[in-house]
Amino acid sequence: MRRSVSIAGLAAALLLGTLGFGTGQKSYVASAQEKTSTMEVKIDNFSFGPVELTVPVGTTVTWTNRDDIPHTVVSTDKVFKSKVLDTDEKFSYTFSKAATYPYFCSIHPKMTGKVIVQ
């Protein structure tokens, strides 16, 4: 009886330990994802900042127009395309494939940027 109780206790401890470890792992992954899940690109004074951004796969990049005039964010390879962004409006895109994504503003084609997804 005492032996079976101690075996049950050991099993429970192992189970709890495993669960605890699993939870710990999950939260580690989540915090790692949180660190890299969103990146910001600021549009200001007719330029994207940073001009070149390197991010891991799965990252969501958000462009925010801080300029007084409207801009767009258009992928050169037609992967993504925003609507016209007025002041303080945002556009987000999640990069699910590793590649280099050059983009520009279709109203001001001299404005260019690049997202490198690794």
């Binding site: 004074n45 007719f46 330029s47 005039i69 609507k83 016209v84 279709s106 109203i107």
Partner: protein, 149 residues
Amino acid sequence: MHPFDIKTVVFAKHAQHVVLIHFPIALFIIGVLFDFLAQWKTQRLLAAAAYYNLLVAAIATIPVVLTGILAWQWELEGQKLKGILLMHLVMGCVSSVLIWVVWLIHRRTRRKQEEVLPGYRLPIEAVAVVIVTLTGHLGGFLSGVNGPG
């Protein structure tokens, strides 16, 4: 970027609208200036110069409006405009109509072989110059002439 693709030729990194727009603006303002001078100096030669400047200005509005609307439809996929872009579109259309109206007033007088142009054209021309200038200012603001590079 293909050099013979129509969208590339008209828009990407080679926007024709911002190039062509200078022609009707310059021709119209100079045409109005000649007309005011013709009125003041009572010279036929200045009146003729005004007429032909206004004629070419009116014709030049066609490709400008066309490239502007195509840029809206192709580059911005015809999305509902707001703010400065909408203001620029509306004022651009009003400006074009006013340029044509001014030229038609001149044309009607010439066709009727009347000696004197109607006096009411002068305030219309003055208002048209103001609207054309404001539209050009908005266009310059949008195109980023004040921006870096």
